[in-house]
Symmetry: C3
Subunit: 654 residues, 3 copies
Amino acid sequence: MQLGVCYYPEHWPENKWESDARRMAEMGIARVRIAEFAWSRIEPEPGRYDWAWLDAAIATLARHRLEIVIGTPTASPPKWLVDRHPEILPVARDGSVMRFGSRRHYDISSPVYREHCARIVEAMVRRYGGHAAVVAWQTDNEFGCHNTLPSYTQAALHRFRRWLADRYETISTLNMVWGNVFWSMEYGSFDEIELPYCLPTDANPAHLLDYRRFQSDEVASFHALQADLIRQHAPGRDVLHNFMGFYAAFDHYAFARHGLDVAAWDSYPIPRTEVIPLAEADKHRWARTGHPDVSAFSHDLYRGIGNGRMWVMEQQAGPVNWAPFNPVPQPGIVRLWTWEAFAHGAELVSYFRWRQCPFAQEQMHSGLNTPDDTLSAGGQEAAQVGRALRKLSLPAERVRSTRAPVALLFDYEADWVFEAQRHGADFDYQHLVFEWYSALRELGLDIDIVSAHADVGEYRLVIAPTLPILPDSVVEQIERGTNHWVFGPRTGSKTEAFSIVPQLPPGELQRVLPARVVEVESLRPSIRPTLRFNGIEGVALRWRDHAKPGRATEAIARFDDGLPAVLRSERVTYMAACFDTTLLRAFIADCVGRAGIEATPMPEGLRLRRRGRLRFAINYGDQPQAVPASPGARFVVGGPLAGPVDVAAWIEED
Amino acid sequence: MQLGVCYYPEHWPENKWESDARRMAEMGIARVRIAEFAWSRIEPEPGRYDWAWLDAAIATLARHRLEIVIGTPTASPPKWLVDRHPEILPVARDGSVMRFGSRRHYDISSPVYREHCARIVEAMVRRYGGHAAVVAWQTDNEFGCHNTLPSYTQAALHRFRRWLADRYETISTLNMVWGNVFWSMEYGSFDEIELPYCLPTDANPAHLLDYRRFQSDEVASFHALQADLIRQHAPGRDVLHNFMGFYAAFDHYAFARHGLDVAAWDSYPIPRTEVIPLAEADKHRWARTGHPDVSAFSHDLYRGIGNGRMWVMEQQAGPVNWAPFNPVPQPGIVRLWTWEAFAHGAELVSYFRWRQCPFAQEQMHSGLNTPDDTLSAGGQEAAQVGRALRKLSLPAERVRSTRAPVALLFDYEADWVFEAQRHGADFDYQHLVFEWYSALRELGLDIDIVSAHADVGEYRLVIAPTLPILPDSVVEQIERGTNHWVFGPRTGSKTEAFSIVPQLPPGELQRVLPARVVEVESLRPSIRPTLRFNGIEGVALRWRDHAKPGRATEAIARFDDGLPAVLRSERVTYMAACFDTTLLRAFIADCVGRAGIEATPMPEGLRLRRRGRLRFAINYGDQPQAVPASPGARFVVGGPLAGPVDVAAWIEED
Amino acid sequence: MQLGVCYYPEHWPENKWESDARRMAEMGIARVRIAEFAWSRIEPEPGRYDWAWLDAAIATLARHRLEIVIGTPTASPPKWLVDRHPEILPVARDGSVMRFGSRRHYDISSPVYREHCARIVEAMVRRYGGHAAVVAWQTDNEFGCHNTLPSYTQAALHRFRRWLADRYETISTLNMVWGNVFWSMEYGSFDEIELPYCLPTDANPAHLLDYRRFQSDEVASFHALQADLIRQHAPGRDVLHNFMGFYAAFDHYAFARHGLDVAAWDSYPIPRTEVIPLAEADKHRWARTGHPDVSAFSHDLYRGIGNGRMWVMEQQAGPVNWAPFNPVPQPGIVRLWTWEAFAHGAELVSYFRWRQCPFAQEQMHSGLNTPDDTLSAGGQEAAQVGRALRKLSLPAERVRSTRAPVALLFDYEADWVFEAQRHGADFDYQHLVFEWYSALRELGLDIDIVSAHADVGEYRLVIAPTLPILPDSVVEQIERGTNHWVFGPRTGSKTEAFSIVPQLPPGELQRVLPARVVEVESLRPSIRPTLRFNGIEGVALRWRDHAKPGRATEAIARFDDGLPAVLRSERVTYMAACFDTTLLRAFIADCVGRAGIEATPMPEGLRLRRRGRLRFAINYGDQPQAVPASPGARFVVGGPLAGPVDVAAWIEED
C-alpha cells in the first residue's frame, strides 16, 4: 500500500524539481508518474531527441528514492508529425476530421501512426528500460477518452475489412450472419464493406457490434505494440495502462490479455457521480463526496481485470475542471478515497497531480499543491495518509485480497449490444450493473467483479444484472456447480452475431431455468407496473420481459397485472424487469440469503470491505457510525466509531 | 374487409414457406405483401436477375389462394449500385452525404437512380404483371421516411432550377415574387439559384416553400415513373403506395393524381402517440393503446386521398422497436385497431409482419408470430378477427363508406408554411388539426378529411383549423353555398408566394367575414390569455390573432382583455386563437349545433363511426360503455355493452 | 432628442415614397436610415452602378426635410460576388461553409471581400458624402449577428498567424505564454498555428482567448476600412455602427477607437428578455414589456462606448419575428421605451421599421405601419411621442447626460475568458453583470457603464461584478483614490495570457484587499450554501471562491459552513460568490451606503433616471406609482403619478 503522484517536470522550471522531489518523499510518496504527453519535448523535431531534461528529472526523483512510472507520450502526437501525416487525425461519427490543438488527435488504426509510436516508445524504453528507479511503464493515456472511439478513418475501414475477412472468411457468411438480406444490405465482397456511420437511419446492429469488437481489438493491438517493446527492453518492469471509470468502449478483459501486469485506473469520484446517469437526488446527495459505490465499483472491476493487481493511477485530490459543475470536495474525503482504494486492493494510490498547473486546459484542475506551492486541502489529507502508512506495517500476505462471497459478471459486449439497440431510451447497461452492485454493497457484502467467461465455481453467489449474449460456459457452470445464480432481464436474448436466440430468451438459460420470454417492453418513465414482495411495494422501471415460466420454474413474485416478475428454478433466479432500488435490494437480499451468505444491511453511506486480515469501514455519510468490529479488534486506522466522512480499519485475528 | 400480412420469404429458409402460407390462409389472411427491399436478391449483380426464389415464393402463396401485393424494391438500392454511382446518395440538411448501410440511401432527384429504378421495376412488372395472383403493386416504401426529404444534392439543385424556370419563366419574376430585394438576395439567372440550407440565418420562406413544393413534385414524379410502368405491364392491378401517419413532407393529394388506385398507409398507433407533440398526460394515458383519434385521423385522411379506397398496408400487431419507449400493447387493442380501420373504410388491414425477424435493424419489432413461430398475442387477436370476418357476410354496397356530415380541410402547404415560419416555437400545423379533429370525434361525429381545394358543397359543416394560403375556391363555395364553415387562426394570412396578404389576414375571407387581423402574437407557454364562453372558463395557447371585426361580424366570445376570441358572420365562424381542449370543444360544439348536426358527446375513450349500414362503437377506455344502438339493432361484432378496449358493430336497418 | 425610422424604399413602389416621406415628417420623425442591404440594387452587375433609384429616394426624403443616415450594404454581398469569389463565405465552428441565401454570408477576414467593400463604400460615399441631407453613415449592420463570429476560414487562419507573429515575435514566446508544453501542443513556427475548432476535446484557453482578440481586431479593422473612406469623402458627418444588445463577441471599446462618432444600437426589449438567461419567472413577468433593466443596461453601456453619444438605431415598435415566442407588446410600452432611451441619453430613437414588409424573412416583424399602410399600435405611440417632443423645447445643455454616482466596469475579455472556461455550466458573464446592474437600478440609482481601463476617479462607487483579468490601472486607482470599490468572484484570477495569477486570486487586488482564494467551486443548482446578512437569509449560487482573508481584511459575512462570503478592507469590498437576488441587493445596498450615496429602493417595475436637469420615472409595473419629484417640479411628460406602463419627466431646478 503505497502513495504516488503524477508529475510533469516539463511544466516547471528545473530549479523547482529538487524541492518538489524532496517534499514528495517527505510526505510519504513512493512513486511518481512522468512523461506521458511530453512527446514535443522528447522529440522536438523529427528524429531529434532531447533526453537531457528527462535524464535530469529522473535523476532528481531517483535521488530522493522515488520510484518512477514512465508514461509513453502517444496520446498527443506533436504538430510536426500531424503536419507530415495529416491522415493520422481521427474522424468523428459525423464524418468530420478532428484537428490538432488538444489531445487524442490520432486514429488508433493508422499504420503510419503506429510506426511512429513504435519508434518513440522504443527510443524511450531503450534509454530508460534498465534504469533502476524506473519500475513501471504506462502505455499512452486513457484510451478512448473524449469519445474518440470508435473512429471512422480510411485506415480503420481498411483494417476492419481485413478483420472481417479473418472472422468470416467468405462474404456470404458475413451476409448471412449479419442478416444483410434485410433491406438489401448484402455486400459483394469484403472490399465493399462500409463503416456504420452517417446513415439515413439505424445501422445493422450486427455491423455496429462487430465494429465495436474490431475497435476493441485495435485498442488492444495498439497497446500490445508498445507493451511488447517495453517487455523486450525493460524486463521485469510492470506494464500498465490507466483506464477510466465507467468506460466500456473496448473490452478491458481482452485488452489485459495483450500484456498487462497491473490494471491501473483514474479515479474521479465527484465528477463521475455528476456525469453518470444516477437519479438527480443521488447526484445532489453525494455531490461533495461522490456516490459511496462509484469508486468501489471500479476498484472491484479493475482488481479483476488486473488479475488481482490494481492501482489508482490518478486519484482526485480536490476540485476538478471537467464536469458541468465542479464543487470543492467535503473535508476528509480525499483521505477516505485513499483508504477505500487500499481496502479494495489497490497496491498504489497516485494523486493527480503534484501541483495545479496554472496554464492550458487543466488549469482549473487542483492538485496536492496550489499553483503557488502551498499544500492544498487534499494535499494535507494525502500527507495524513502518508504518515499513517508509515506507522502501519503489515506483512504483504496479511493484506492480500481474498475471494469475495459474491461474483458479479461484467461484460463489455453487453454494453455494446444495448448501445446498438437500447430499445428504451433510458436503458443503460452500466447503470443497471451499478444498481445491482450498489444493492449488494448496501448489504455489507464484498464483491468480485469478473468476466462473464470466468470460472466462478467457488463463489457462493454469482449475479449477472444482464448478459444478453450468454456464454455457454455460464450454463455449463450452473449445471455442474452448486452455487446460486441471479440473472437480470434481457439475459440470453441475443446470439453472438446479434440476432434473437432461436428458442427465445433467455436462450440456453432455459436448460436450467425453463421459461420463455415471449414479449418485451421498454417502459416510458410514467409507466410503472406495480408489484409487491415480502411486504414491500415497488415498481418496474425501464424494462419488462413478459415471460412464461415452464415446468419446474416458479414465479416468486408477480406484477399486479399477473405477469411474472421474478422466476426461480432451484439455484437460478431470473428478474424479469428493472426494479426500483428498494425492491431490487429486497430481491437481492432474498437471493443472498438463499446462497447462505450473511448480509449486514448498512446505514446510509456506510460500506464495509475486507482485505486479507484487514477489515475496513468506510463512512461516506454525515452521521457517525459504530463499525462492526469484534470486541478485541485491533484498530490500525480510526476506531470503533467512524465519524462523518471517515474510515476505520482493524485487524481480525483468526 | 380483408386481412393481409407483410411477408419476407427471402428472410426465411425456403422450407418454411409452405407452412407459412398454409397458416396464413388458415387464420383468415387473404393478401400478402412481398418483395419491397429485396433488390439485392432480385438483382444480385448488375444486370443479372434471379427470379427463381421469387417465382417459387409467389407460387407457394398462390397455391394457398393468397393474393399478392408486390412492392418495388427501390427504397434500398444494392451496394453495387451505390458503388457504381455514389452520386445517388442523399445529402442531409447539414450538407453531409448519407451513406450505404441502412435504407433510403438515395436521392429522389438523381437521374441515374431514376433510370435504374425504371429498369428494375420494368423487369419485375414484365415478369409478374400478368400473374393471376398478383393483384396489386406498391411503389417503393414510405417515401420520405427517416427525414430523407428534402434532400440537397446537385441533382436536386439542377432539377430545382429547371422547375423554377418553368414556374416563373423569368428570373426577375422569381426575384419579385420571392421578394429577393430583401437582403440583396436577388439572383441574376436561374443558374444562380441555390438550395436553402447551411445559411447563417433563416432562408427566405418563399424559397423554402418552393423547395418543399419542388420536392413534393419530385416524389410524385418518382412514383409516377413506376406507376406508369406498372399500369403498362400489369393492367387492371391496383397501384398504391404505403404512406405514413402524421407525415406531410409532400402533398399526398397531388401525389394521388399521378396514378394511385388505393391510398395505403402504415398504422403504428402506439409509437405514433409517443412521438407526436401531444401533452405528456395524454401520452401517458394512451401509452398502451395509442390515442383514440390517432389512427382514425389517418384513416379518414387517407380514405380521402384514395378517393374512397383505403388500405392499412402495415398494422402494428405488438410492441415495436422505433419509439423512445416501446411498451407491450394492451390486450385486445390489436383486434380493436383492426375493426376501427374497417369502420373507417379500410378495404384491407395488413399486419406487419408475419413473423418477427430475429436479425438486423427490426429484430425488436414484433409480428403475428414470434421468431420461434408461435402465434403472438397480437397474432391471436388477428386470428380472432379472421374468424369473425368469415362469419360476417355483408354485401359490399352495405358497407360502402358514406359521406360524413363534417368535412375537415387538410392542406400540405399549410404544414410547409408553418414549418418555414413557425413564429411560435410550439406552433405545429398537424397538431392543431389533430386537436380540432379530436374535438369533433369527442362529439361522436364522423368526419371526412379532404383537400382544401375539394368541392365540399354537400357537407353541412366544413372546418379548417387553419388555412394560411386560402384557395379562392373556398370563398367562392361559401358565397354560393348554404353550409356552415369554421376557420382557425392564421387562415388567409399568406399569398401563394408566401407574403402577407395585401388586405391583411384573413385575406379574401374578408368577403364573407369582414374583419382585419392587425397584429398577431405567439404566446410563450406561461402566457395564457383568459376568456369564458357559455359558462366555460378557458385560455388561449400558442397563438392569438388581434382582429378587428368589421361591419356584420360579431365577436361571439371575447378575451378578458377585450380582444375578440371568436368572430362570426352568418354561416362563417373564425377562431382567432388556439384554445385549450375544453374550450375548443365548446366552440366546435356551438358550430356543430348551428349547422344542425346532432352531436353525441362521448365518454372518455369511446368513439363512433358509421360505414354504410354498419355502425361501430370503439372503446379505447378502461370502463365498459353502453353503445348507442337502437333497440332492435343486429350486432355483428360484440353487443350493446362494449367492454374496455373493445368494439361493437351493428347493422342499422332503414 | 429626435425620432427616426428605418426605411427601405427599394422594397416599395416608387409612387409610395412621397406619401411615406410626408407622413414621416408629419408624425415628428426627423431622421431616416436607408440603404443597408441594398447592394444588389446599387450594383446589380459587377461594376455597373444604378444610382437613379437611390438619388430619387434621397431627394424625396430630403424634400420633406428629413435627415438621412446611409447604411453601407456590406452585410449582404450580392450573388454575383459570391459566385465569383466563393472563398468569401464564412466557415462555422463545425467546419461547414455557410452559404448564400440569407445575410452575413461573408468572412470578415477575406482580403478579396474587403477590397469589394472598400469599392462599394467608396462609390457610395463619393456620391452622397457631400449631400446636405445625408447627416450620418452606418457601417454594415450588426457585426457578428447570427453567431457569425468567430469564423474559421483560411483567410482568417492566415491573418491570425500574422497577428500572432506581431504579438509574440517568436514562436517560443507564444509556446511559453500559451503553455503549449501542456499536451505537447507546441508549434514549430507561426505557419503551423491552427484555428481552435473541431478538436477531440477543449482547446487551450489561451488559444481561444487570442482567437477572440484577433477576431475582435478584425471586426474593428473591417469597420475602420469603411470609416476611413467615409471620413475622407463625407467630412463632418457622423460615423456609426448599429451594435446589438447583450452581445460581446468583439470589444466594443476598442472598436470605438477605430473611428466612431456615435454608438448606435438596436433595441428589442421583448425578444431580448426571452432569450437571455433570466429566471423563468422573470421571463414570464416581463414577457410583454421586456425586463425593466434590459434596455437601460444597453443604453448605459453604449452611452459609455459612444463617449456620451448614443442612438437607438432600431427600436422595437411591435411584435417581432425572431424569438422563440413573440407576444404583442403591452399598450404604452413603445412610448415608454422611447422616453426611457431619451432618459438614458439617446440623441435619437429610430424605430424599426417604417412599414411591415409583407415578403421575405422579416414579414412577421411589425413596424410603425401595417403592410396595408395603417399606423400600427406602436406607430400611434411613436406619433404620441412625436407630438410631445414638438411641445418640449429644452436647451441642449439642460439635457446633457451627467456623470452618475456609480460606475460599473464592463469588460469584453471577461466574457471571452468565461466562455473559454466556464467551469460551471451556468456561469455567464453578462448575466452576472446584469444582476449587479439590476440590483443598483432597484435602489433608484443612475449608473455609468465604463471600460475596465477607464479613469473612474470621480465616481463615488465603482463596481466590477467580476474582472478575471484585472488591469493594473484598477489597483493603482484604488490606491491613489478615495472612492469605494466592489468586486465580484473570480476577479483577478487570470493573467493577460489566461493563466492563473502567480499569487493566486484575486491577484494584484491583494495589494488593497489582502486575501488569497485557495480553492474555487462551481455549484450545481441543487447545491446552495446558506448564509445571512443584516437579518436576510440567502444562498450562494453557481460559484464560490474559498478565500482566506489576510491581515486587515474582514469577512463582513460568512457562510453557515464558516467560509467567508464577503470580504472588506477599508474602501474595497469583495463578494466571494454569486448570490440570490435579494441577498445581492442587500450587499450592494451596504456598499452604496458606505460610499455615501443615497439609495431610493424602488417598487416593482419602477426606475429612475436623470438626464441633465430632467428627471424621469419609468414605470414598467402594473400599479400606478407616485414619482419622487419635489413639490414644485415642472412636469414635461406625465405628472406626479405614473400609471402602469407609463413615464413621467420633470425638470429639477437648481
